[in-house]
Amino acid sequence: MTTLPGKTEKKLGLVIDLDTCVGCHACVISCKGWNTENYGAPLSDQDPYGGDPSGTFLNRVHSYEVQPLATSDKPHPAAQLIHFPKSCLHCEDAPCVTVCPTGASYKRVEDGIVLVNESDCIGCGLCAWSCPYGARELDQAEGVMKKCTLCVDRIYNENLPEVDRVPSCVRTCPAGARHFGDFADPESNVSKLTAERGGMDLMPEQGTKPVNKYLPPRPKDEMDQIDVLAPFLAPVAEEPAGFVGWLDKMLEKI
């Protein structure tokens, strides 16, 4: 059913901390592994050992350089590098759902997860066209649209220990840069992190109302600012002889 639910009971999604992500691609491969073996068709790879290898991935890590503008405090700011994992944001106003001609794409009423019912998917690709984030990829072997399921087959899975009922990318992230939870609950970890750290939407002007939030990097290179009041260390002595005098005094205190 390709109309969007008016409201979902929960708003499950991810918080991705751009201040902490070291760009290791662990989430990318863990996702590939879990989702190749689980929900729907395997994520295939074409020409895997050849000249033009290419496969279906539901989560990819980009990296960007940001060149801050020079200021009087910081005339030569260093460029920054930010690792940027990106997967489906499970938008509240998901355009990928409403464009689907067959009803294969849908947003779950109970938790807001956007899913593809692969047996209904004709592989027209329009949902991928409508997604500003590049979150959907048409599997070249199976001819159906693949996307992040938020590991819907993990998060409720009674065959997994409770602690493991999180998306595989969250479970594997070594730096703890990925957080999973319910944004409809203001007391949840993800809601709190979003509030505390100024969690942001990607491309808010697209009007998709993404559920997933990104925590911006904290300010960087503050010790590179020109600041006359900077706390330099005060010398105890300028001469080695003076140092010995100071040392004697200090040793008496031990």
């Binding site: 290791c24 050992y49 050849g50 290898p53 594997t172 900077a230 300028e238």
Partner: protein
């Protein structure tokens, strides 16, 4: 609205069974849960209970399934049928292969054991492979440490009895300021990522010192884009500032380091009593006493009959204006103000944010302290500091900085992991006494204490093929794997008969000067025989090196084998616990391959090697698993510390337990023994820890010691160079030994700077390994090679603009040794005189079962072609090694290059002809799902 949505199964069965073993995708050695379906590997995730990774897993680990199904896996033993380097092989049986190997090795062992050079690469069983080599009797064994990070290991052990990485870790739960130096992205992979997450989560700060702002340095709050090779200078400038401001932990220095030890003014050696104990002046009584007397406070400011303390020498040295921030700023590429601010921040956090743990402890003097003082500043460092010709001294300088701030082995600081701390004196010395048909007189590698311990023959010639432990690199504790092939080829110091290697891709990314190595491996003498007569090689995969061997002994993948990650070797302990682990065959090989260590056991049995056969000639061990369980290094101490004793209830010391491996498997593939509370800080001096360590079998007796800010072994080498003693360096090395063996940390410019024209070669060139790729292993991995299938040379803005580069351009990169033509890309967050690329992405055509048009082979490249194992001649008639003069560590980060824009060639230059793949090629499509 009537929403109908499909009903889906949100609780599908995950797997039939979980088998817990240890990852092998880098030296991190995380615990993994291997989910099995229908007897096949379905999914791999981190093991939550495991001490190393606590459930998380990196990209390589998660992609393990693609290592296990890789088409590049070798299938059976092979003998070479075409010329070396062609890749033409014929599969043979194991019997034939072992016969061939024994046919080569037996005569060597009988007549001249040193004619076997046995070197292993990224071997995780060095305790075993070393044991094998020792019992074979050759002095020529080492692993890849000399090529990798011996400066870091030796610098740490000689200074404070342990180093970074598997030797120790920051106190992640308490540290507030974490400073990283030169850490390549893969190093200490998951623990460091977990730690960074913890520091960030608590709002702590991270300072990254690295010319390249990627990975960990990208998330650092402060990035110090230092000029390569100048870390030591930057560190000593901070030391200068700390001395100048008196921001020093005097009590710590006084009690736990050799700073208060008196130096004999005449010899420069430490003053000792008759029992050999270092002497100090007790500030309370003014008396000259041994350092370990109860109740004393060693006096840093003492002067005993003109003999001053180490600390006074330090103050004199480091207060010198040559180390002032203003004096070093330009060379380091860091402004003097920023150096001051960073120093000030280190001091602020160490001293103003100091805290106390309410935990009393008793030190080795018998003095009890009612609190543990915490200084929440910690450091970590790796290859960026280590892989320079000044790396050893720079590592020492970094430890000096840690120690004067009082941040080692204290809460919030840097903590050792068992079996460290361990003083140099508790390590073996190197051994090299060869007897035909008998074992070597002791372990090959170790720590020298002075000229007497060098591996030199009576005539001063090197005992070892790699010239480790000679005056060229006296403290080369890990050997010099990177010199083995060129020395064997040159017959210098002597010719060998057989080169036997394991997991060492010497004809490609594991050598400097890869093209030259290929020539050395294939060159024939005037009789038409290969200059290196026989080469035996073991690998699990069709690496570039396979083509250069005469006999291939195929290894298994990591899920098909037994291994032990042993306390005798490079263990996986935590600061609070000793731990070890195993690998076990969670799947059986579907090919005719055997774990290499098992093959070594079989060879040893056929050769009748001591240590492996009983007196009646019968085999002690059937295979490696048998060895792991039944071998005892000392009575009661074996490769695995857990579940010892008949009932499996003993730890550390205990009789052999035949069910030990089953116990490990039941326990998740590992064993952890926690250090008791109160014993887990101040370990080198904490009696409770020392006693625990003895119980565990880590020491035979308590081994408390002082940190060696002043290195006496180095002074002994320096003193020999000054003309003292029987063993003195040859004349051409005398000045260098004098200058570089300074017993207090110093900085000198990387050697390449004085051998090449720095006006022509203005640019520093570096490599680092991506987090998602482990050397060449990742390339065969269908998932990982999509992430890193080729590598551009990253160029900083200034050079990018000066050359008018645009996206898609290529450049010719030249060093004094050679040139390459490679694709370039722009990177702004980069030191302005540094270029870099990802290491070991470039591949030889035909290797790793890739097709010849693979991007790795056409657009991937190695910087190795620009680096020689020797420095360019400088007109003194000598060729100096491109290594650290103290440890012999390969100085590949000293590399200087020049960059010119080039027309885009069809593929990277140099391009080598394809080798014939001995395993064929992979499938055209992968839809890997093992469940229904």
């Amino acid at each position: 609205m009537n929403i109908q949505q499909p009903k889906i199964d949100t609780s599908p069965k995950v797997s039939d069974e979980i088998r817990k073993t240890t990852c092998y995708m880098c030296a991190c050695r995380c615990g993994i849960n291997v989910h099995m379906k229908d007897g096949k590997v379905a999914y791999i995730e981190g093991n939550r209970d495991h001490p190393v990774n606590k459930g998380v897993l990196c990209a390589k680990g998660s992609a393990g399934i693609m290592q296990v199904n890789a088409p590049s896996r070798l299938k059976a033993p092979m003998k070479r049928v075409g010329p070396r380097g062609s890749g033409e092989f014929e599969e043979i049986s194991w019997d034939e292969a072992l016969d061939m190997a024994v046919g080569l090795l037996k005569p060597i062992r009988e007549k001249d054991p040193k004619k076997l050079a046995f070197f292993t690469g990224r071997d995780q069983s060095q305790s075993f492979t070393g044991f094998w080599a020792q019992n074979f009797g050759t002095p020529n064994f080492a692993a890849h440490g000399g090529f990798c990070s011996v400066n870091m290991a030796a610098g740490g052990i000689y200074t404070m009895g342990g180093a970074f990485w598997e030797f120790g870790q920051p106190d992640w739960d308490r540290t507030k300021l974490f400073m990283l130096f030169g850490v390549a992205e893969d190093h200490d992979s998951n623990p460091i990522k977990i730690g960074i997450g913890k520091v960030k989560g608590r709002g702590g700060k991270i300072i990254g010192v690295n010319p390249i702002r990627s990975g960990y340095n990208a998330v650092a709050d402060e990035w110090v884009g230092i000029t390569p090779g100048t870390d030591g200078l930057f560190i000593l400038a901070m030391v200068h500032e700390l001395f100048r401001a008196g921001k020093l932990d005097l009590e710590y220095l006084s009690r736990f380091t050799n700073a208060p030890v008196l130096i004999d003014a005449e010899t420069g050696l430490l003053m000792r009593d008759d029992a050999g104990k270092e002497l100090v002046i007790d500030r309370r009584t003014g008396k000259l006493v041994a350092f370990d007397q109860k109740g004393i406070l060693p006096d840093l400011a003492a002067n005993h009959e003109g003999n001053r303390t180490v600390f006074q020498l330090m103050a004199e040295k480091y207060l010198d204006p040559q180390y002032a921030p203003d004096a070093v700023a330009e060379r380091c590429g860091i402004s003097a103000d920023r150096i001051r601010k960073i120093t000030s921040e280190l001091a602020r956090v160490a001293f103003d944010e100091a805290f106390e743990l309410d935990q009393s402890w008793t030190d080795f003097r018998g003095d009890t302290h009612d609190k543990m003082v915490g200084r929440p500043v910690s450091f970590h460092s790796m290859r960026g500091v280590s892989a320079h010709s000044n790396g050893f001294q720079t590592c020492r300088a970094l430890h000096l900085l840690q120690i004067i701030l009082g941040t080692v082995e204290v809460p919030g600081g840097f903590r050792f992991k068992p079996p460290y701390p361990k003083p140099v004196s508790a390590h073996p010395k190197p051994h090299g006494k060869v007897t035909c048909n008998a074992a070597l007189d002791g372990p090959h590698l170790g720590f020298v204490h002075g000229p007497d311990d060098l591996m030199l023959n009576g005539d001063g010639s090197p005992i070892r093929l790699d010239k480790a432990f000679t005056w060229e690199n006296p403290m080369s504790s890990h050997g010099l794997m990177h010199m083995v092939i060129s020395n064997a080829h040159a017959g210098d110091p002597y010719k060998i008969d057989t080169l036997f290697m394991y997991m060492a891709n010497m004809s490609w990314n594991s050598s400097m000067n890869s093209g030259g190595v290929m020539e050395m491996l294939t060159e024939k003498d005037e009789n038409g025989d290969y200059v290196i007569p026989n080469i035996i090689y073991s690998d699990a995969y069709s690496s570039e090196m396979v083509a250069y061997a005469d006999l291939i002994l195929p290894d298994t993948t990591y899920l098909e084998r037994h291994d032990c990650i042993s306390l005798l070797d490079r263990p996986i302990c935590e600061a609070e616990a000793a731990a070890d682990a195993i690998r076990w065959p969670v799947i059986e090989p579907d090919r005719d391959v055997r774990g290499f260590q098992t093959t070594l056991v079989h060879l040893a049995n056929r050769l009748g090697m001591p240590g492996f056969v009983n007196e009646d000639g019968s085999a002690k061990y059937e295979d490696y698993a048998d060895y792991i369980v039944n071998h005892e290094r000392k009575p009661g101490i074996g490769p695995l510390a857990g579940f010892r004793g008949k009932g499996g209830d003993k730890v550390g010391r205990g009789e052999v337990n035949p069910d030990q491996l089953d116990k490990y498997i039941e326990n998740g593939g590992f064993y952890v023994e926690h250090i008791p509370e109160g014993a887990d800080f101040y370990k080198p001096w904490n009696s409770a820890y020392q006693d625990w360590a003895v119980g565990m079998g880590i020491y035979d007796k308590p081994e408390p010691y002082l940190f060696s800010l002043y290195s006496e072994p180095m002074r002994k080498f320096q003193r020999a160079a000054e003309g003292h003693g029987d063993r003195q360096p040859p004349e051409h090395l005398r000045e260098r030994v004098k200058a570089t063996m300074d017993p207090l940390p110093i900085w000198y410019a990387p050697f390449e700077d004085s051998h090449v024209d720095t006006d022509e070669f203005t640019v520093h060139a570096l490599t680092q390994r991506p987090m998602a790729m482990y050397h060449s292993w990742g390339t065969q991995n269908a998932w990982l090679r999509q992430i890193h299938g080729r590598n551009p040379l990253y160029i900083p803005t200034k050079i990018w603009e000066a050359n008018g580069f645009e996206d898609g351009d290529w450049a010719k990169v030249s060093s004094a040794h050679g040139s390459i033509t490679v694709p370039v890309a722009h990177m702004a967050a980069l030191n302005e005189s540094t270029v870099w690329t990802w290491n070991a992405i470039g591949k030889r055509k035909g290797a790793w079962a890739l097709e010849n048009d693979a991007p790795e082979a056409t657009k991937g490249f190695l910087l190795n072609h620009l680096i020689h194992e020797l420095l360019p001649p400088k007109g003194d008639g000598l060729r100096w090694a491109n290594s650290d003069p103290i440890t012999g560590q390969a100085a590949w980060f000293d590399l200087r290059v020049k960059i010119e824009k080039s027309a885009a060639p069809a593929e990277c230059d140099p391009a080598f002809p394809p080798i014939k793949s001995p395993v064929g090629q992979g499938p055209k499509e992968l839809t890997w799902k093992v469940g229904k």
